[in-house]
C-alpha cells in the first residue's frame, strides 16, 4: 500500500454521511457570520459607522470573525472526532471498510468544506456591499474620520476583501488541523479541547516564558515590546492573524500553509499509530503524557515562584514557590492525565524527579548564563551601525535614543564600553539587594548587523568613571556632535522649550525666541570639550532645559493619533557661555540662578540613614565658588515614592531665602563619590586660602 493510497484516499460515501449528519454546523456558521459581519453593515445608519465595520472586516479585525474563526474549527473538530472516544463507536467505525488514513483525510476535507462554505458565501455577499463604501485615503497626515467627513471616496478593493477572505480560510484551517491533531493523541472530548488549547498556547507560552526568564536573569536582556511581539508573530501564525489581520505578508501565508501541512501529516501519523483500545483515557500516547505533564509542571513552577516572589519580595525564580508549584502542578496534571488520584508510584516519582531536575537545569542555564549571552559581543566586521546614547551614561534624560554611530572609532569605543559593563556585571549590588537608586544607570545599545540586530539594555552600577577614555572618544567625536545637535532634533517641529533650576521650575520660552535660543545652545554644545572631570563630576549650573517636539508615527492607526510627542532635556554647563549670556540678556538667568546662603554636605554609609559626617558651608565666597564651579549632582526628589527609597553616598542641600525672607530649602542633590571628593577638595582649598 503506497503512501498516496494509504494517506490521501478519499471516501465519497463517508464524506457524504459527514455532511449529512453535521449540516447544522455550516448552517449555524452561516448565521453567525451573517450576524457578525453583514448584519451590522446593513443596519449601520451613519456612513462612518458603516465604514468602521467595513474597515474592521476588511482588515480582519472584526471581533466576530475572529471568534468564529476559532470557535467553529473547535466545534467541527470535536464533532468529527467524537467517534474516537467511545469503545462502541471506535469498534464499529474501524471495522468498516476504510483505512485509517482515508478516514482521517475524508474527515479533514469534510470539516474544511463545512467551515469554509459559510465564510465563502458571506464574503461573496459582502462583495456586493463593500466596494460601494468609503475608505479613507491612506495619507498618514489625514485623520481617520476627517477623511470621511471630508467626503473622500475611494473604494475598498477586491484585493483587500480577498485578503481578508484568505486570512479567514487559513486561520480556520489551521485551528481545525491543530484540534484534529489534539484529537489523535487524546482519549476524550474534554481532553481533546484542553489538548488543542494547549497546543495553540505552547508556542506563545514558551516564547513568553523564555522571554521573561531572559529578562529576569540575563544581564543586558530587555524585552522591548516590539521585539517580543515581532518574535511571537514570526513564530506562530496563530498569533499573527488576529494581530495583523489581512496585512499578511507572503512569507506568513507560506508559513501558515506549511504549518497546516505539517499539522495534517503529524495528525495522520498519530492516528495511524493510535491504540484504539485507549478510547476514554485522557492521553493515548505515553510520550504525549510525558511532554504535557512536563510543560504544565514547568509553567506551574514558574507561576508559583512568580507569585511568591511578588508576595514576599524574594528572588525570582529561586524561591520556595518553585518547588511548591512543581509539586502541586505535577500532581494535578498527572491526576488529570491518568484520570485517577492514585498517582503515587515509582514511575511518577521518577518522572517528577526528572522534571524538577530538568526545570532547575533550565533555570540555572539562564542564571549562570550557559549561553554566554552576557559576555557576547557581535563581530566587528558584521556591524553596520550602532544605536547608542552616551548621554544616558551621564544620566541625562532623553527619550528616543536615536544616535546612530557608523564611524569605526566610535563603534570600537562603544564595544569597549559594552565589554566593561558586561564585566562589571549585575552582581555588584548594594547589600545584595536590588534597590535601584541614583547610583544605577540605565544604558542600552543596539547593533545593526548584516545579519540582523543585537541589542542590550542594562541597569548597571558601572558608571562613567569605569570607561572614561572610550566615552570621551565618543562624546568629542564629530559624528556625535552632529547627531546630538539640538537643531537637528528640533527640525520636525519644536513644541516647547522650558528652562528650570532648583529655584524656579519650568520657565517657558516664548516661541519667537526658540530659534535664537536653539542656535546658541547648539553652538555651545558643539564647542563643548568633554574631559574626564566633566563626565564624572557633572559640572553644571543647576539649570536644565526641557524641549519637546512632535513627530509623525509613520503609519496610520485606525483610531489613534498619527503623531506623537518626544522629549529631550539638557543640562546647561558652565561652559555654555552663549546660552548663559542669552538667558541673562533675556532676563531668565536671574530667576534661575541659585541664591543660596547655606550649603550642608552630608556623607552617608550605604547601610545607615544617619550621616557619618556632615559639613556646613556658609561662607559666601566659598558658596559662590561652589555654585560657579557647578558641582551639582542629581536632583533628589522631595516627594513621591522614590523620596524615601534612597541610599545615596553624599547629599548636598542648598538653603536660600524666599520672597518673604525666610530660609527655605532650595534643593537637595546627590553626588557620586568622585563629586563629593571634588567638593571637599574645593572647600578645603578655599578654606585654606
Amino acid at each position: 500500500m503506497n503512501l498516496a493510497s494509504s494517506y490521501f484516499k478519499f471516501s465519497p460515501a463517508l464524506f457524504r454521511e459527514n455532511l449529512k449528519r453535521f449540516w447544522t454546523i455550516p448552517a449555524f456558521g452561516m448565521l453567525c457570520y451573517f450576524f457578525a459581519g453583514l448584519y451590522p453593515l446593513i443596519v449601520a445608519e451613519a456612513s462612518s459607522e458603516r465604514y468602521y465595520v467595513l474597515q474592521m472586516t476588511a482588515r480582519f479585525l472584526n471581533p466576530g470573525f475572529i471568534i468564529f474563526s476559532v470557535l467553529f474549527p473547535i466545534i467541527t473538530s470535536v464533532a468529527l472526532n467524537r467517534y474516537l472516544f467511545a469503545p462502541g463507536s471506535v469498534s464499529v467505525m474501524h471495522s468498516l471498510p476504510f483505512t485509517r488514513g482515508s478516514m482521517f483525510f475524508t474527515n479533514m476535507l469534510s470539516g474544511l468544506v463545512m467551515m469554509w462554505a459559510p465564510i465563502v458565501v458571506t464574503y461573496l455577499i459582502s462583495l456586493a456591499f463593500m466596494p460601494n463604501a468609503y475608505l479613507a485615503a491612506t495619507d498618514p497626515n489625514i485623520g481617520f474620520y476627517s477623511a470621511i467627513i471630508a467626503g473622500a471616496e475611494t473604494r475598498i478593493s477586491v484585493g483587500q476583501i480577498t485578503g481578508a477572505l484568505g486570512t479567514s480560510l487559513l486561520l480556520t484551517a489551521m485551528y481545525f488541523l491543530l484540534f484534529n491533531l489534539a484529537a489523535t493523541v487524546t482519549g476524550n472530548t474534554p481532553m481533546h479541547i484542553i489538548g488543542g488549547a494547549f497546543l495553540s498556547a505552547v508556542a506563545v507560552g514558551l516564547t513568553g516564558l523564555v522571554g521573561t526568564l531572559s529578562e529576569t536573569m540575563l544581564f543586558g536582556f530587555a524585552i522591548d515590546s516590539d521585539m517580543f511581539i515581532n518574535l511571537l508573530l514570526r513564530l506562530t501564525p496563530i498569533v499573527y492573524y488576529p494581530a495583523r489581520g489581512a496585512d499578511a505578508a507572503v512569507s506568513m501565508v507560506i508559513q501558515t500553509i506549511i504549518t497546516c501541512v505539517g499539522l495534517y501529516a503529524l495528525g495522520s501519523l498519530m492516528y495511524a499509530k493510535r491504540s484504539l483500545e485507549r478510547a476514554g483515557d485522557s492521553l493515548v500516547y505515553k510520550f504525549v503524557e510525558v511532554i504535557f505533564v512536563s510543560i504544565v509542571t514547568l509553567s506551574g513552577m514558574i507561576l508559583m515562584s512568580a507569585i511568591i516572589s511578588a508576595i514576599d519580595q524574594s528572588n525570582f525564580p529561586f524561591n520556595w514557590g518553585l518547588i511548591a508549584g512543581g509539586v502541586l502542578s505535577y500532581a494535578a496534571v498527572k491526576m488529570m492525565a491518568q484520570k485517577s488520584v492514585r498517582i503515587f508510584n515509582k514511575g511518577s516519582a521518577i518522572h517528577f524527579g526528572v522534571t524538577i531536575i530538568a526545570v532547575l537545569l533550565f533555570l540555572f542555564s539562564f542564571r549562570f548564563d550557559f549561553y554566554g549571552y552576557e559576555k557576547r559581543l557581535p563581530n566587528e566586521n558584521d556591524i553596520e551601525s550602532v544605536y547608542f546614547d552616551p548621554m544616558t551614561t551621564l544620566r541625562n534624560y532623553y527619550s528616543e535614543a536615536e544616535i546612530e554611530f557608523k564611524s569605526p572609532d566610535n563603534i570600537k569605543a562603544i564595544m569597549n564600553i559594552h565589554r566593561v559593563i558586561a564585566e562589571y556585571g549585575p552582581n555588584a549590588r548594594v547589600n545584595g539587594e536590588d534597590v535601584i537608586d541614583y547610583s544605577a544607570n540605565s544604558i542600552s545599545v543596539e547593533y545593526k548587523l548584516n545579519s540582523g540586530t543585537v541589542s542590550r539594555s542594562w541597569v548597571t552600577y558601572a558608571d562613567a568613571s569605569h570607561y572614561v577614555g572610550d566615552l570621551l572618544t565618543i562624546l568629542n567625536s564629530r559624528e556625535f556632535k552632529e547627531q546630538n545637535s539640538v537643531i537637528e532634533w528640533a527640525k520636525p517641529g519644536i513644541n516647547s522649550i522650558s528652562v528650570s533650576s532648583g529655584s524656579y521650575r519650568d520657565l517657558n520660552l516664548n516661541p519667537v525666541e526658540f530659534s535664537e535660543f536653539l542656535l546658541a545652545l547648539d553652538a555651545d554644545m558643539r564647542d563643548e570639550v568633554f574631559t574626564a572631570d566633566s563626565v564624572t563630576l557633572f559640572p553644571g549650573t543647576g539649570i536644565g532645559v526641557n524641549l519637546s517636539r512632535t513627530r509623525p508615527t509613520g503609519y496610520v492607526y485606525s483610531l489613534g493619533r498619527p503623531y506623537y510627542q518626544s522629549y529631550r532635556s539638557e543640562y546647561i554647563k558652565p561652559t555654555y557661555t552663549r546660552t548663559i549670556n542669552w538667558l541673562n540678556a533675556k532676563g531668565y538667568y536671574e530667576n534661575l540662578r541659585y541664591q543660596a546662603n547655606r550649603i550642608t554636605v552630608e556623607l552617608f554609609d550605604v547601610n545607615s540613614a544617619e550621616a557619618l559626617e556632615s559639613y556646613e558651608i556658609t561662607d559666601f565666597d566659598t558658596l559662590q565658588n561652589i555654585l560657579d564651579y557647578g558641582i551639582f549632582g542629581d536632583e533628589i526628589p522631595t516627594t513621591g515614592d522614590s523620596a524615601t527609597d534612597l541610599t545615596p553616598y553624599c547629599v548636598v542641600t542648598f538653603y536660600g531665602l524666599d520672597e518673604r525672607g525666610e530660609t527655605v530649602q532650595l534643593a537637595r542633590r546627590s553626588l557620586s563619590p568622585e563629586g563629593a571628593e571634588a567638593l571637599l577638595r574645593l572647600k578645603i582649598a578655599l578654606a585654606g586660602s
Partner: protein, 302 residues
C-alpha cells in the same frame, strides 16, 4: 476461512491475548466460548481489524485483514457495544452501508426489515437494546458478508427473534458458504448451532474442536476384572486414551477418549467381569477435556 495464529496483545499490565490461535473453516459456524474477560471481545476486535495485535497474524482466505479495504468490504461485524450515527434511522444507515459494501442487497434488506417488523423511519437510538441488535443484524446481513463476526449476538433477544436470526444465518451459510464466528459465554446456547467451538480463558485457547467429534469421542467406562493383574492402567493404547481413572475397590471408573467401537473391542478383549459404557453429558465431557482441574470453568460455561 478465518485463520488466526499466535495472537498476542497486552493492555498496560494486562495480557488480553496470549499466543491465541483460532481456525475457522469455510462455511463453518464457530463458537468462541469464554467467560467475561477471557479475551473473546479483544480477539474479535483484532480479527475485524479494529485493534492491532502486538504480534501474530490474522488472515481471511489467506488475505491480511488489517487496513485492507477489499477484505473489510466482505466482513460483517456486530459488536456487543452497538453504535449508530446520532440521528440516523435504519433507512439512512442502509443508505450509508449500501454505498460502502459492494455486495449490498436492497431486496434482502427490505425483506428482512419486514420480517423483523422494525420501523425504518424511527431513530435508531430510540430503539430498545434488543431492537437495536436486530437492526444491526439486518444491516449487516444485507451487506452479504463472506465472514460474519458476532459478539454475544443473542444477548437480549427473545426466543422467537433468536430463531429468526439463526434461520437467516443458517440460510446464508448453506447458500453462500458464509463463514460465521460467534462469541458467547454460554456454551449451552451455542452447542446446537455451532459445528466447532474454541474455549478461551485468560487470552489462551484451551480447547478447539469439532463439536460432533467432542460428543462422540469421550466415554465413561466402568470395568472390573477377576484378576487384579488384568486391570487397565494409564497406558495409551492405540485409538484409546485414558483421561481419568478412579478406583472403588476392584471397580475401575475411567474416562476414555476414543472411537466407541474401538473402546468396546479393546476392553472386551481383556475379558472383564463387568463392563459398562456409560453416556456422558456434554458438561462432563468438557470438564474432562479442559483438564479436570477446570471444574469451575465448566460450571461457568453452562
Amino acid at each position: 476461512m478465518i485463520k488466526v495464529s499466535a495472537l498476542n496483545k497486552r493492555f498496560e499490565h494486562v495480557t488480553a491475548l496470549d499466543n491465541l490461535s483460532i481456525n475457522v473453516k469455510k462455511g463453518s459456524i464457530y463458537g468462541l466460548i469464554g467467560v467475561n474477560g477471557s479475551g473473546k471481545t479483544t480477539a474479535l476486535k483484532a480479527i475485524t481489524g479494529v485493534l492491532r495485535p502486538d504480534s501474530g497474524e490474522i488472515t481471511m482466505d489467506d488475505l491480511d485483514v488489517y487496513e485492507n479495504v477489499r477484505v473489510k468490504q466482505r466482513i460483517g461485524f456486530i459488536p456487543d457495544d452497538l453504535f449508530f450515527f446520532g440521528s440516523y434511522n435504519m433507512k439512512e444507515c442502509a443508505g450509508f452501508y449500501s454505498r460502502i459494501f459492494p455486495n449490498w442487497s436492497k431486496e434482502k434488506y427490505r425483506t428482512m426489515a419486514e420480517q423483523f417488523g422494525l420501523s425504518e423511519r424511527r431513530k435508531l437510538i430510540r430503539f430498545s437494546k434488543g431492537m437495536q441488535k436486530q437492526a444491526a443484524f439486518i444491516l449487516t446481513m444485507s451487506s452479504n458478508p463472506d465472514w460474519l463476526i458476532l459478539d454475544e449476538p443473542i444477548d437480549g433477544l427473545d426466543p422467537l427473534v433468536r430463531k429468526l436470526v439463526w434461520k437467516h444465518i443458517v440460510a446464508d451459510v448453506a447458500e453462500r458458504q458464509m463463514t460465521v464466528l460467534v462469541s458467547s459465554h454460554n456454551l449451552r446456547e451455542m452447542e446446537g448451532i455451532c459445528d466447532s467451538i474454541g474455549i478461551v480463558n485468560s487470552g489462551k485457547m484451551l480447547l478447539e474442536r469439532d463439536l460432533d467429534e467432542l460428543r462422540s469421542d469421550i466415554h465413561k467406562v466402568q470395568v472390573a476384572f477377576g484378576n487384579a493383574g488384568d486391570k487397565l492402567n494409564n497406558e495409551k493404547l492405540e485409538g484409546f486414551e485414558i483421561l481419568h481413572i478412579e478406583e472403588h475397590g476392584s471397580i475401575q471408573q475411567m474416562i476414555v477418549r476414543g472411537a466407541k467401537e474401538q473402546v468396546e473391542t479393546i476392553v472386551r478383549s481383556r475379558n472383564p467381569l463387568i463392563f459398562d459404557l456409560i453416556p456422558l453429558s456434554l458438561e462432563e465431557v468438557f470438564i474432562y477435556e479442559l483438564g479436570g482441574g477446570n471444574n469451575e470453568l465448566g460450571k461457568l460455561l453452562f
